[in-house]
Each structure stands twice: as C-alpha cells, then as structure tokens.
C-alpha cells in the first residue's frame, strides 16, 4: 500500500527551517498563504513575511526589489499565476535582468482539482522553460521538497519550483540526496527508460513493476530539474535502453516530454512516447479521478512503454 504525505505541509516546515538558518530570507505571498502553507513562515517570522494582497504582478516586482538588496526573496502564489498573470515581471526582471527571485508555484498541475481548470497549471513548465536563465525544479514527494528548498535558495539565478497541493506518494527517504540539474536513476533497467517528474515519478515506478512482470526491465529516471536538463542522463538513457517514455502532470506540448524529445532527436534518436495532458483543459473533480480522466496513470505509461519498445524493432 502506498504511503502518502502532504507536500504543502512539508513545504511550510522547510520554509521555517530555512528561515531559522538564514536571517536574509524574506517570504512574499499574494494572499494565499493558508493555501500554500507559507503561513507557517509568517507565524514564525512575521517581520519578514510580506503579504502584497491579491496582486501577483506586484508580488514578483516587490520580490525583485527585495532580492536586489541583499535578501533572498521567496515569492509564493498559485503556479498558473506566475506562468500567466505575472509572467512579464518574471521574464523582464528575473530572467533578462537576472534578479534571482525564487518562485514557488503552488497547486501545480491539476492538483487543485476541485477548484477546476481555472486553477490548474498545465502549461507552466512549457512557459517557464522557454525563458533564458530560468531553472525549473519539480519535487516528487514531501521529502524532496525539504531537500530542494535550500538548493533552490542557493542557486545563483531565478528558480521556478512546482509544488503539488495534495498528499502524494512517499518515494524517498532521508538518504535521497538530489542535486539541481542532475537526474536520478531511481530504478535500473535496460529495455526502456521511463522519465518521470513530480507526481508522475510514482506512476513510473508502478509501471516499471508491471512491465517487469511482462519481462521488460524499465529504467526509471527522475528528472526533477526540467531546466537545466541533465542532457547526459537523457542521452545515456536513449543509448543504453533504446526507448523512452516521458510522464508529467502537464501538457504534452513543451514540458518534460518536449524537452526530452528535443534532446533525443538531436543526440540519439530512439522511439519516444509522451504521457501527459493532451491539448485540452482539464475538468473539475477528485484528484485521482481527474488524473485518471486525463490518462495520467501507470497503465498509460505501461502502454506507452510497450509501444516504445515495439518501435525499436521497426
């Protein structure tokens, strides 16, 4: 039975720990701190928590000002708002201007499933990935959130961290030691590589078990950093396993699948299948129901892996 742990609770705790370690950390919010759990930082360090109101453009601009004056600025709001409403601020100041604001995109993917498509972020990776200088980190579970947050703060440029609203399967224990920019081989295999990010990493691991029962040994590669992409790990996967499946809680356009496809087609072309959300908006309902409805399941990954492996023979 899969154990679940709440990602946003882990995020709030990690923020407080960071605040204890670093006096120069300032947390900013566009009035959703009880949603994303940055309220925990607000309670511990009220003098360096800034609620700018329901004003996401100002959220990023004020954070830019804070980060320009010897502070670490960690800006918090819903993922889709960073990627859409506040995007010009992100592009102009964080990316072009190089001001290293840390953007914490809450409720990413379809994890705010009951609030529906207006609150989903299913194109955010594609949008952020297109910006020169932006790094994109997607933790896969609650443990990973705590492991990444100090690294995100230490990263020299802007970072977009994509956070899930819900309880998600526990994959890692405290031995997990990820580094921004370096993919993690979570399971070894030679027949196909399942490249997963965020919640879909757990689906990849489930799929690998099913495939093993059929005699296919799948490598599972965690790409927690969609940008800068670990090109060596992707090319090695293509060369050594000859087939790739990508899996993400995001549109199939321009996200992890797009990034991997761009890499593979240039360096070592192999059959590649992308599991993700088609060119559609989602709909409202329970999280698992919506994931199933969108085809974000281990069964979909298994089917895609079979197709990719068959493709090797052609």
């Amino acid at each position: 039975m899969t154990t679940l742990a709440p990602m946003r609770q882990a995020y709030g705790e990690a923020l407080v720990e960071l605040g204890r370690d670093r006096e120069d950390v300032v947390v900013l919010s566009a009035d959703v701190s009880n949603s994303d759990f940055s309220w925990m930082f607000a309670e511990a360090f009220p003098e360096r928590f800034l609620n700018v109101g329901i004003a996401e453009q100002s959220l990023v601009d004020v954070a830019v000002g804070v980060a320009s004056t010897d502070h670490v600025a960690i800006a918090n709001t819903f993922a889709f708002l960073f990627a859409t409403r506040a995007l010009e601020m992100v592009r102009t100041h964080c990316c072009y201007g190089g001001v290293p604001v840390k953007l914490m995109g809450a409720y990413a993917g379809v994890s705010d499933s009951f609030d529906g498509p207006t609150h989903n972020a299913i194109t955010d990776i594609a949008i952020m990935r297109s910006l020169p200088g932006m790094a994109i980190v997607v933790p896969a579970d609650a443990v990973a959130v705590a492991k990444f947050l100090p690294q995100v703060v230490a990263w020299p440029g802007p970072v977009y961290m994509r956070l899930n609203r819900n309880e998600v399967p526990v994959i890692f224990d405290d031995d997990y030691a990820p580094e921004i920019g370096r993919a993690v081989v979570v399971r070894e295999g030679r027949d196909v590589t399942l490249v997963g990010t965020g919640l879909m990493l757990s689906r990849c691991l489930d799929a690998a078990k099913t495939l093993a029962e059929e005699g296919l040994e799948a490598r599972v590669l965690e790409v927690h950093t969609v940008k800068p992409l670990d090109v060596d790990a992707i090319v090695a996967a293509a060369r050594e396993t000859g087939a790739i499946v990508t899996a993400e809680e995001h549109s199939v356009i321009g996200g992890l699948g797009g990034a991997v496809a761009e890499t593979v087609v240039g360096a070592w072309p192999v059959p590649l299948e992308r599991v993700g959300i088609g060119d559609v908006f989602a709909t409202t309902g329970a999280y698992d129901t919506i994931l199933e409805h969108l085809g974000l399941t281990s069964a979909a990954i298994v089917s895609a892996a079979r197709r990719a492996v068959d493709g090797k023979l052609r």
Partner: protein, 300 residues
C-alpha cells in the same frame, strides 16, 4: 531643508541642456530612439545625479548608495547621458547607443554601471522600488551585505521616475498600495507629467487626472511642481526626505520634447520620428542657443 544657491540651480539647468544635446546626438547617430520623454525629464535627471543622489561612480554597487530606478525605460538615452556625465563610464561610450555591440541597449540593462533595474515594459518602478525601499529599511543584520553587520537600517533612499502614460498600468497602483501599507518614507516617486504618450495626449488616450488626488487617495504624500524649474525639483526632493512615515510622490508638470520648438507637445516625437538632417541642425542650434544663454559654468 537647504537653501539652494542660484549658482547650483544654474549649473543644473546647464547640465540638463547638455544632456539634451547628448541625447540628440545619440538618437541621430543611432537613427533610432526616443526624444520627447528624455527632454521632459532632463532637469529632473540633472538635479538627481548632480545634487540629490548619493552615488559613487567609482563604486557603482556601494551598498549604502541611493537607488534610482528609471521606470519609464524609453527615456534610456538621457539616463545613459547623465550616468556618463556623472562619470560612471566615458562620455565617448554614448556613441554606441543602440549600435551593436553595446552596453547601451535600446532600454536600460544592468550590465551598464549605474543602472539599477531593467526597464522598458512600463509600470515596474514603483513596485520594484517599494521592494527595495522595504528591504533597505529593515533593521536587522544583513550578513550577505557587509562583513561587519550593522544593527541599523540603511539610510539609502529609493527614487523612481515614471511617466504619466505609465500610470495606465495597474501594477503601478499595486506597488503604490504596498509602499503606503509599509509606510516607506525612504521611497520617492517622480511622475514626469508631460501629458503626452505614444499615440496622443494622455487626456485622450486614457485620462489620468486628477493625478495628485489619485496618489493622495493611495496614501502618498504629494508635491506638485514645475518640472523644468531646477530649484522646485531640488526643494521637492528635500521635502520628500523629511516625510518619514509615508512614501512621497512629486508630480512634475513638464513639456514633452522640451527645448526643441518643433518637438514640444507633439506625440510623434515620443519615439516614432528621427530628426532629418535639417531638423537636427535646427534642434542643435536651438539647444546650443539655450545653453549659451544660461551663461558660463560657475563651478558652484
């Protein structure tokens, strides 16, 4: 508040005129760039960089420096000119404006010494400046800033120059509310109220009046001045410094294209036109005449 001498006011007026001449040469050489907005803000830039702001051209990132943010980024040529004249880089570098390879991008970029914020897309300065002003006024040690942590907030001030057309942008008012909430007395905005934006009069494009009442309603202390009168600019900046519990805004009533007869009040000189050779000759003659009428430098 200081009593500013006649000699100082004259020198700054003279510098403003020199900046207009620099800008004309830059735009004509590049065959591209904005003139109207730089010309309406020439006296403001001269007063800031040659009197008001505490900056060090030899140490552009001195932590205690005042921060100037040009929110109306299309006035880049006059920012470039004033930084060069103030000694941040050689005046000769102005020749590279908008010409590859250059640090003098079409709009300001922080790779140029003295530039504190990327600008161009309008509306950012107040919110970014408010973030800077908030963190500069934080009374805590800043371990990453200096080796010997100070227990006191910085005395550095933040000054933002924005256009009046720029007031159309909603984020200006988001930032204004943040600054008022946090009582940022170390933040001063200056509105270059020349009444004209890219395609016409602000009164027609999107009426912004009553500008002063709007800022008052947002919790700012408001000063209204004649924006080409150097003494009024200096006095307003000094008075703004004396307001500690609120951000201040100086509404500077200016003339778009100020200083060149055929550019004044004409929105086409916002950025759409580059002077012909004849226009260049006439503009330069007018600017030179005005400069000589101000008399010889006093070195006050």
């Amino acid at each position: 508040m200081h009593q500013h001498t006649d000699a100082l006011a004259l020198d700054l007026a003279r510098m403003a005129q020199q900046l207009r001449i620099d800008v004309l040469e830059m735009v004509v050489r590049a065959k591209s760039g904005h003139l109207g907005g730089p010309y309406s803000s020439a006296e403001i830039l001269a007063a800031l960089y040659f009197h008001h702001l505490h900056v060090d051209p030899d140490d552009p990132s001195w932590p205690e420096r005042d921060r100037f943010l040009l929110s109306k980024g299309h006035a880049a040529p006059i920012l470039y000119a004033v930084l060069a004249r103030r000694g941040f880089y050689p005046v000769e570098e102005l020749e590279t404006f908008r010409r590859f390879p250059t640090r003098l991008e079409g709009h300001p970029d922080m790779k140029l010494p003295g530039v504190e914020m990327v600008a161009g897309p309008l509306g950012h300065g107040v919110a970014v400046g408010a973030g800077m002003a908030w963190s500069l006024s934080r009374v805590v040690p800043k371990p990453s800033a200096v080796s010997a942590p100070s227990a006191f907030a910085s005395r550095a001030r933040v000054v933002v120059l924005l256009g009046d057309g720029e007031l159309d942008a909603g984020v200006v008012w988001e930032g204004a509310m943040f600054a008022a909430k946090h009582r940022l007395g170390n933040l001063t905005a200056i509105v270059d109220n020349n009444g004209i934006q890219q395609t016409g009069a602000t009164a027609d494009v999107m009426p912004t009046e009553p500008i002063a009442d709007k800022w008052r309603a947002f919790g700012w202390h408001v000063w209204e001045i004649h924006g080409h009168n150097v003494r009024e600019i200096l006095d307003a900046l000094d008075r703004a410094d004396e307001v500690h519990a609120r951000p201040s805004v100086i509404i500077a009533r200016t003339t778009k294209g100020r200083g060149v007869s055929f550019m004044e009040y004409d929105h086409r000189w916002h950025g759409g036109l580059v002077p012909t050779e004849a226009q260049y000759e006439q503009a330069m003659a007018e600017l030179q005449t005005s400069l000589s009428e101000l008399g010889a430098e006093t070195k006050a």
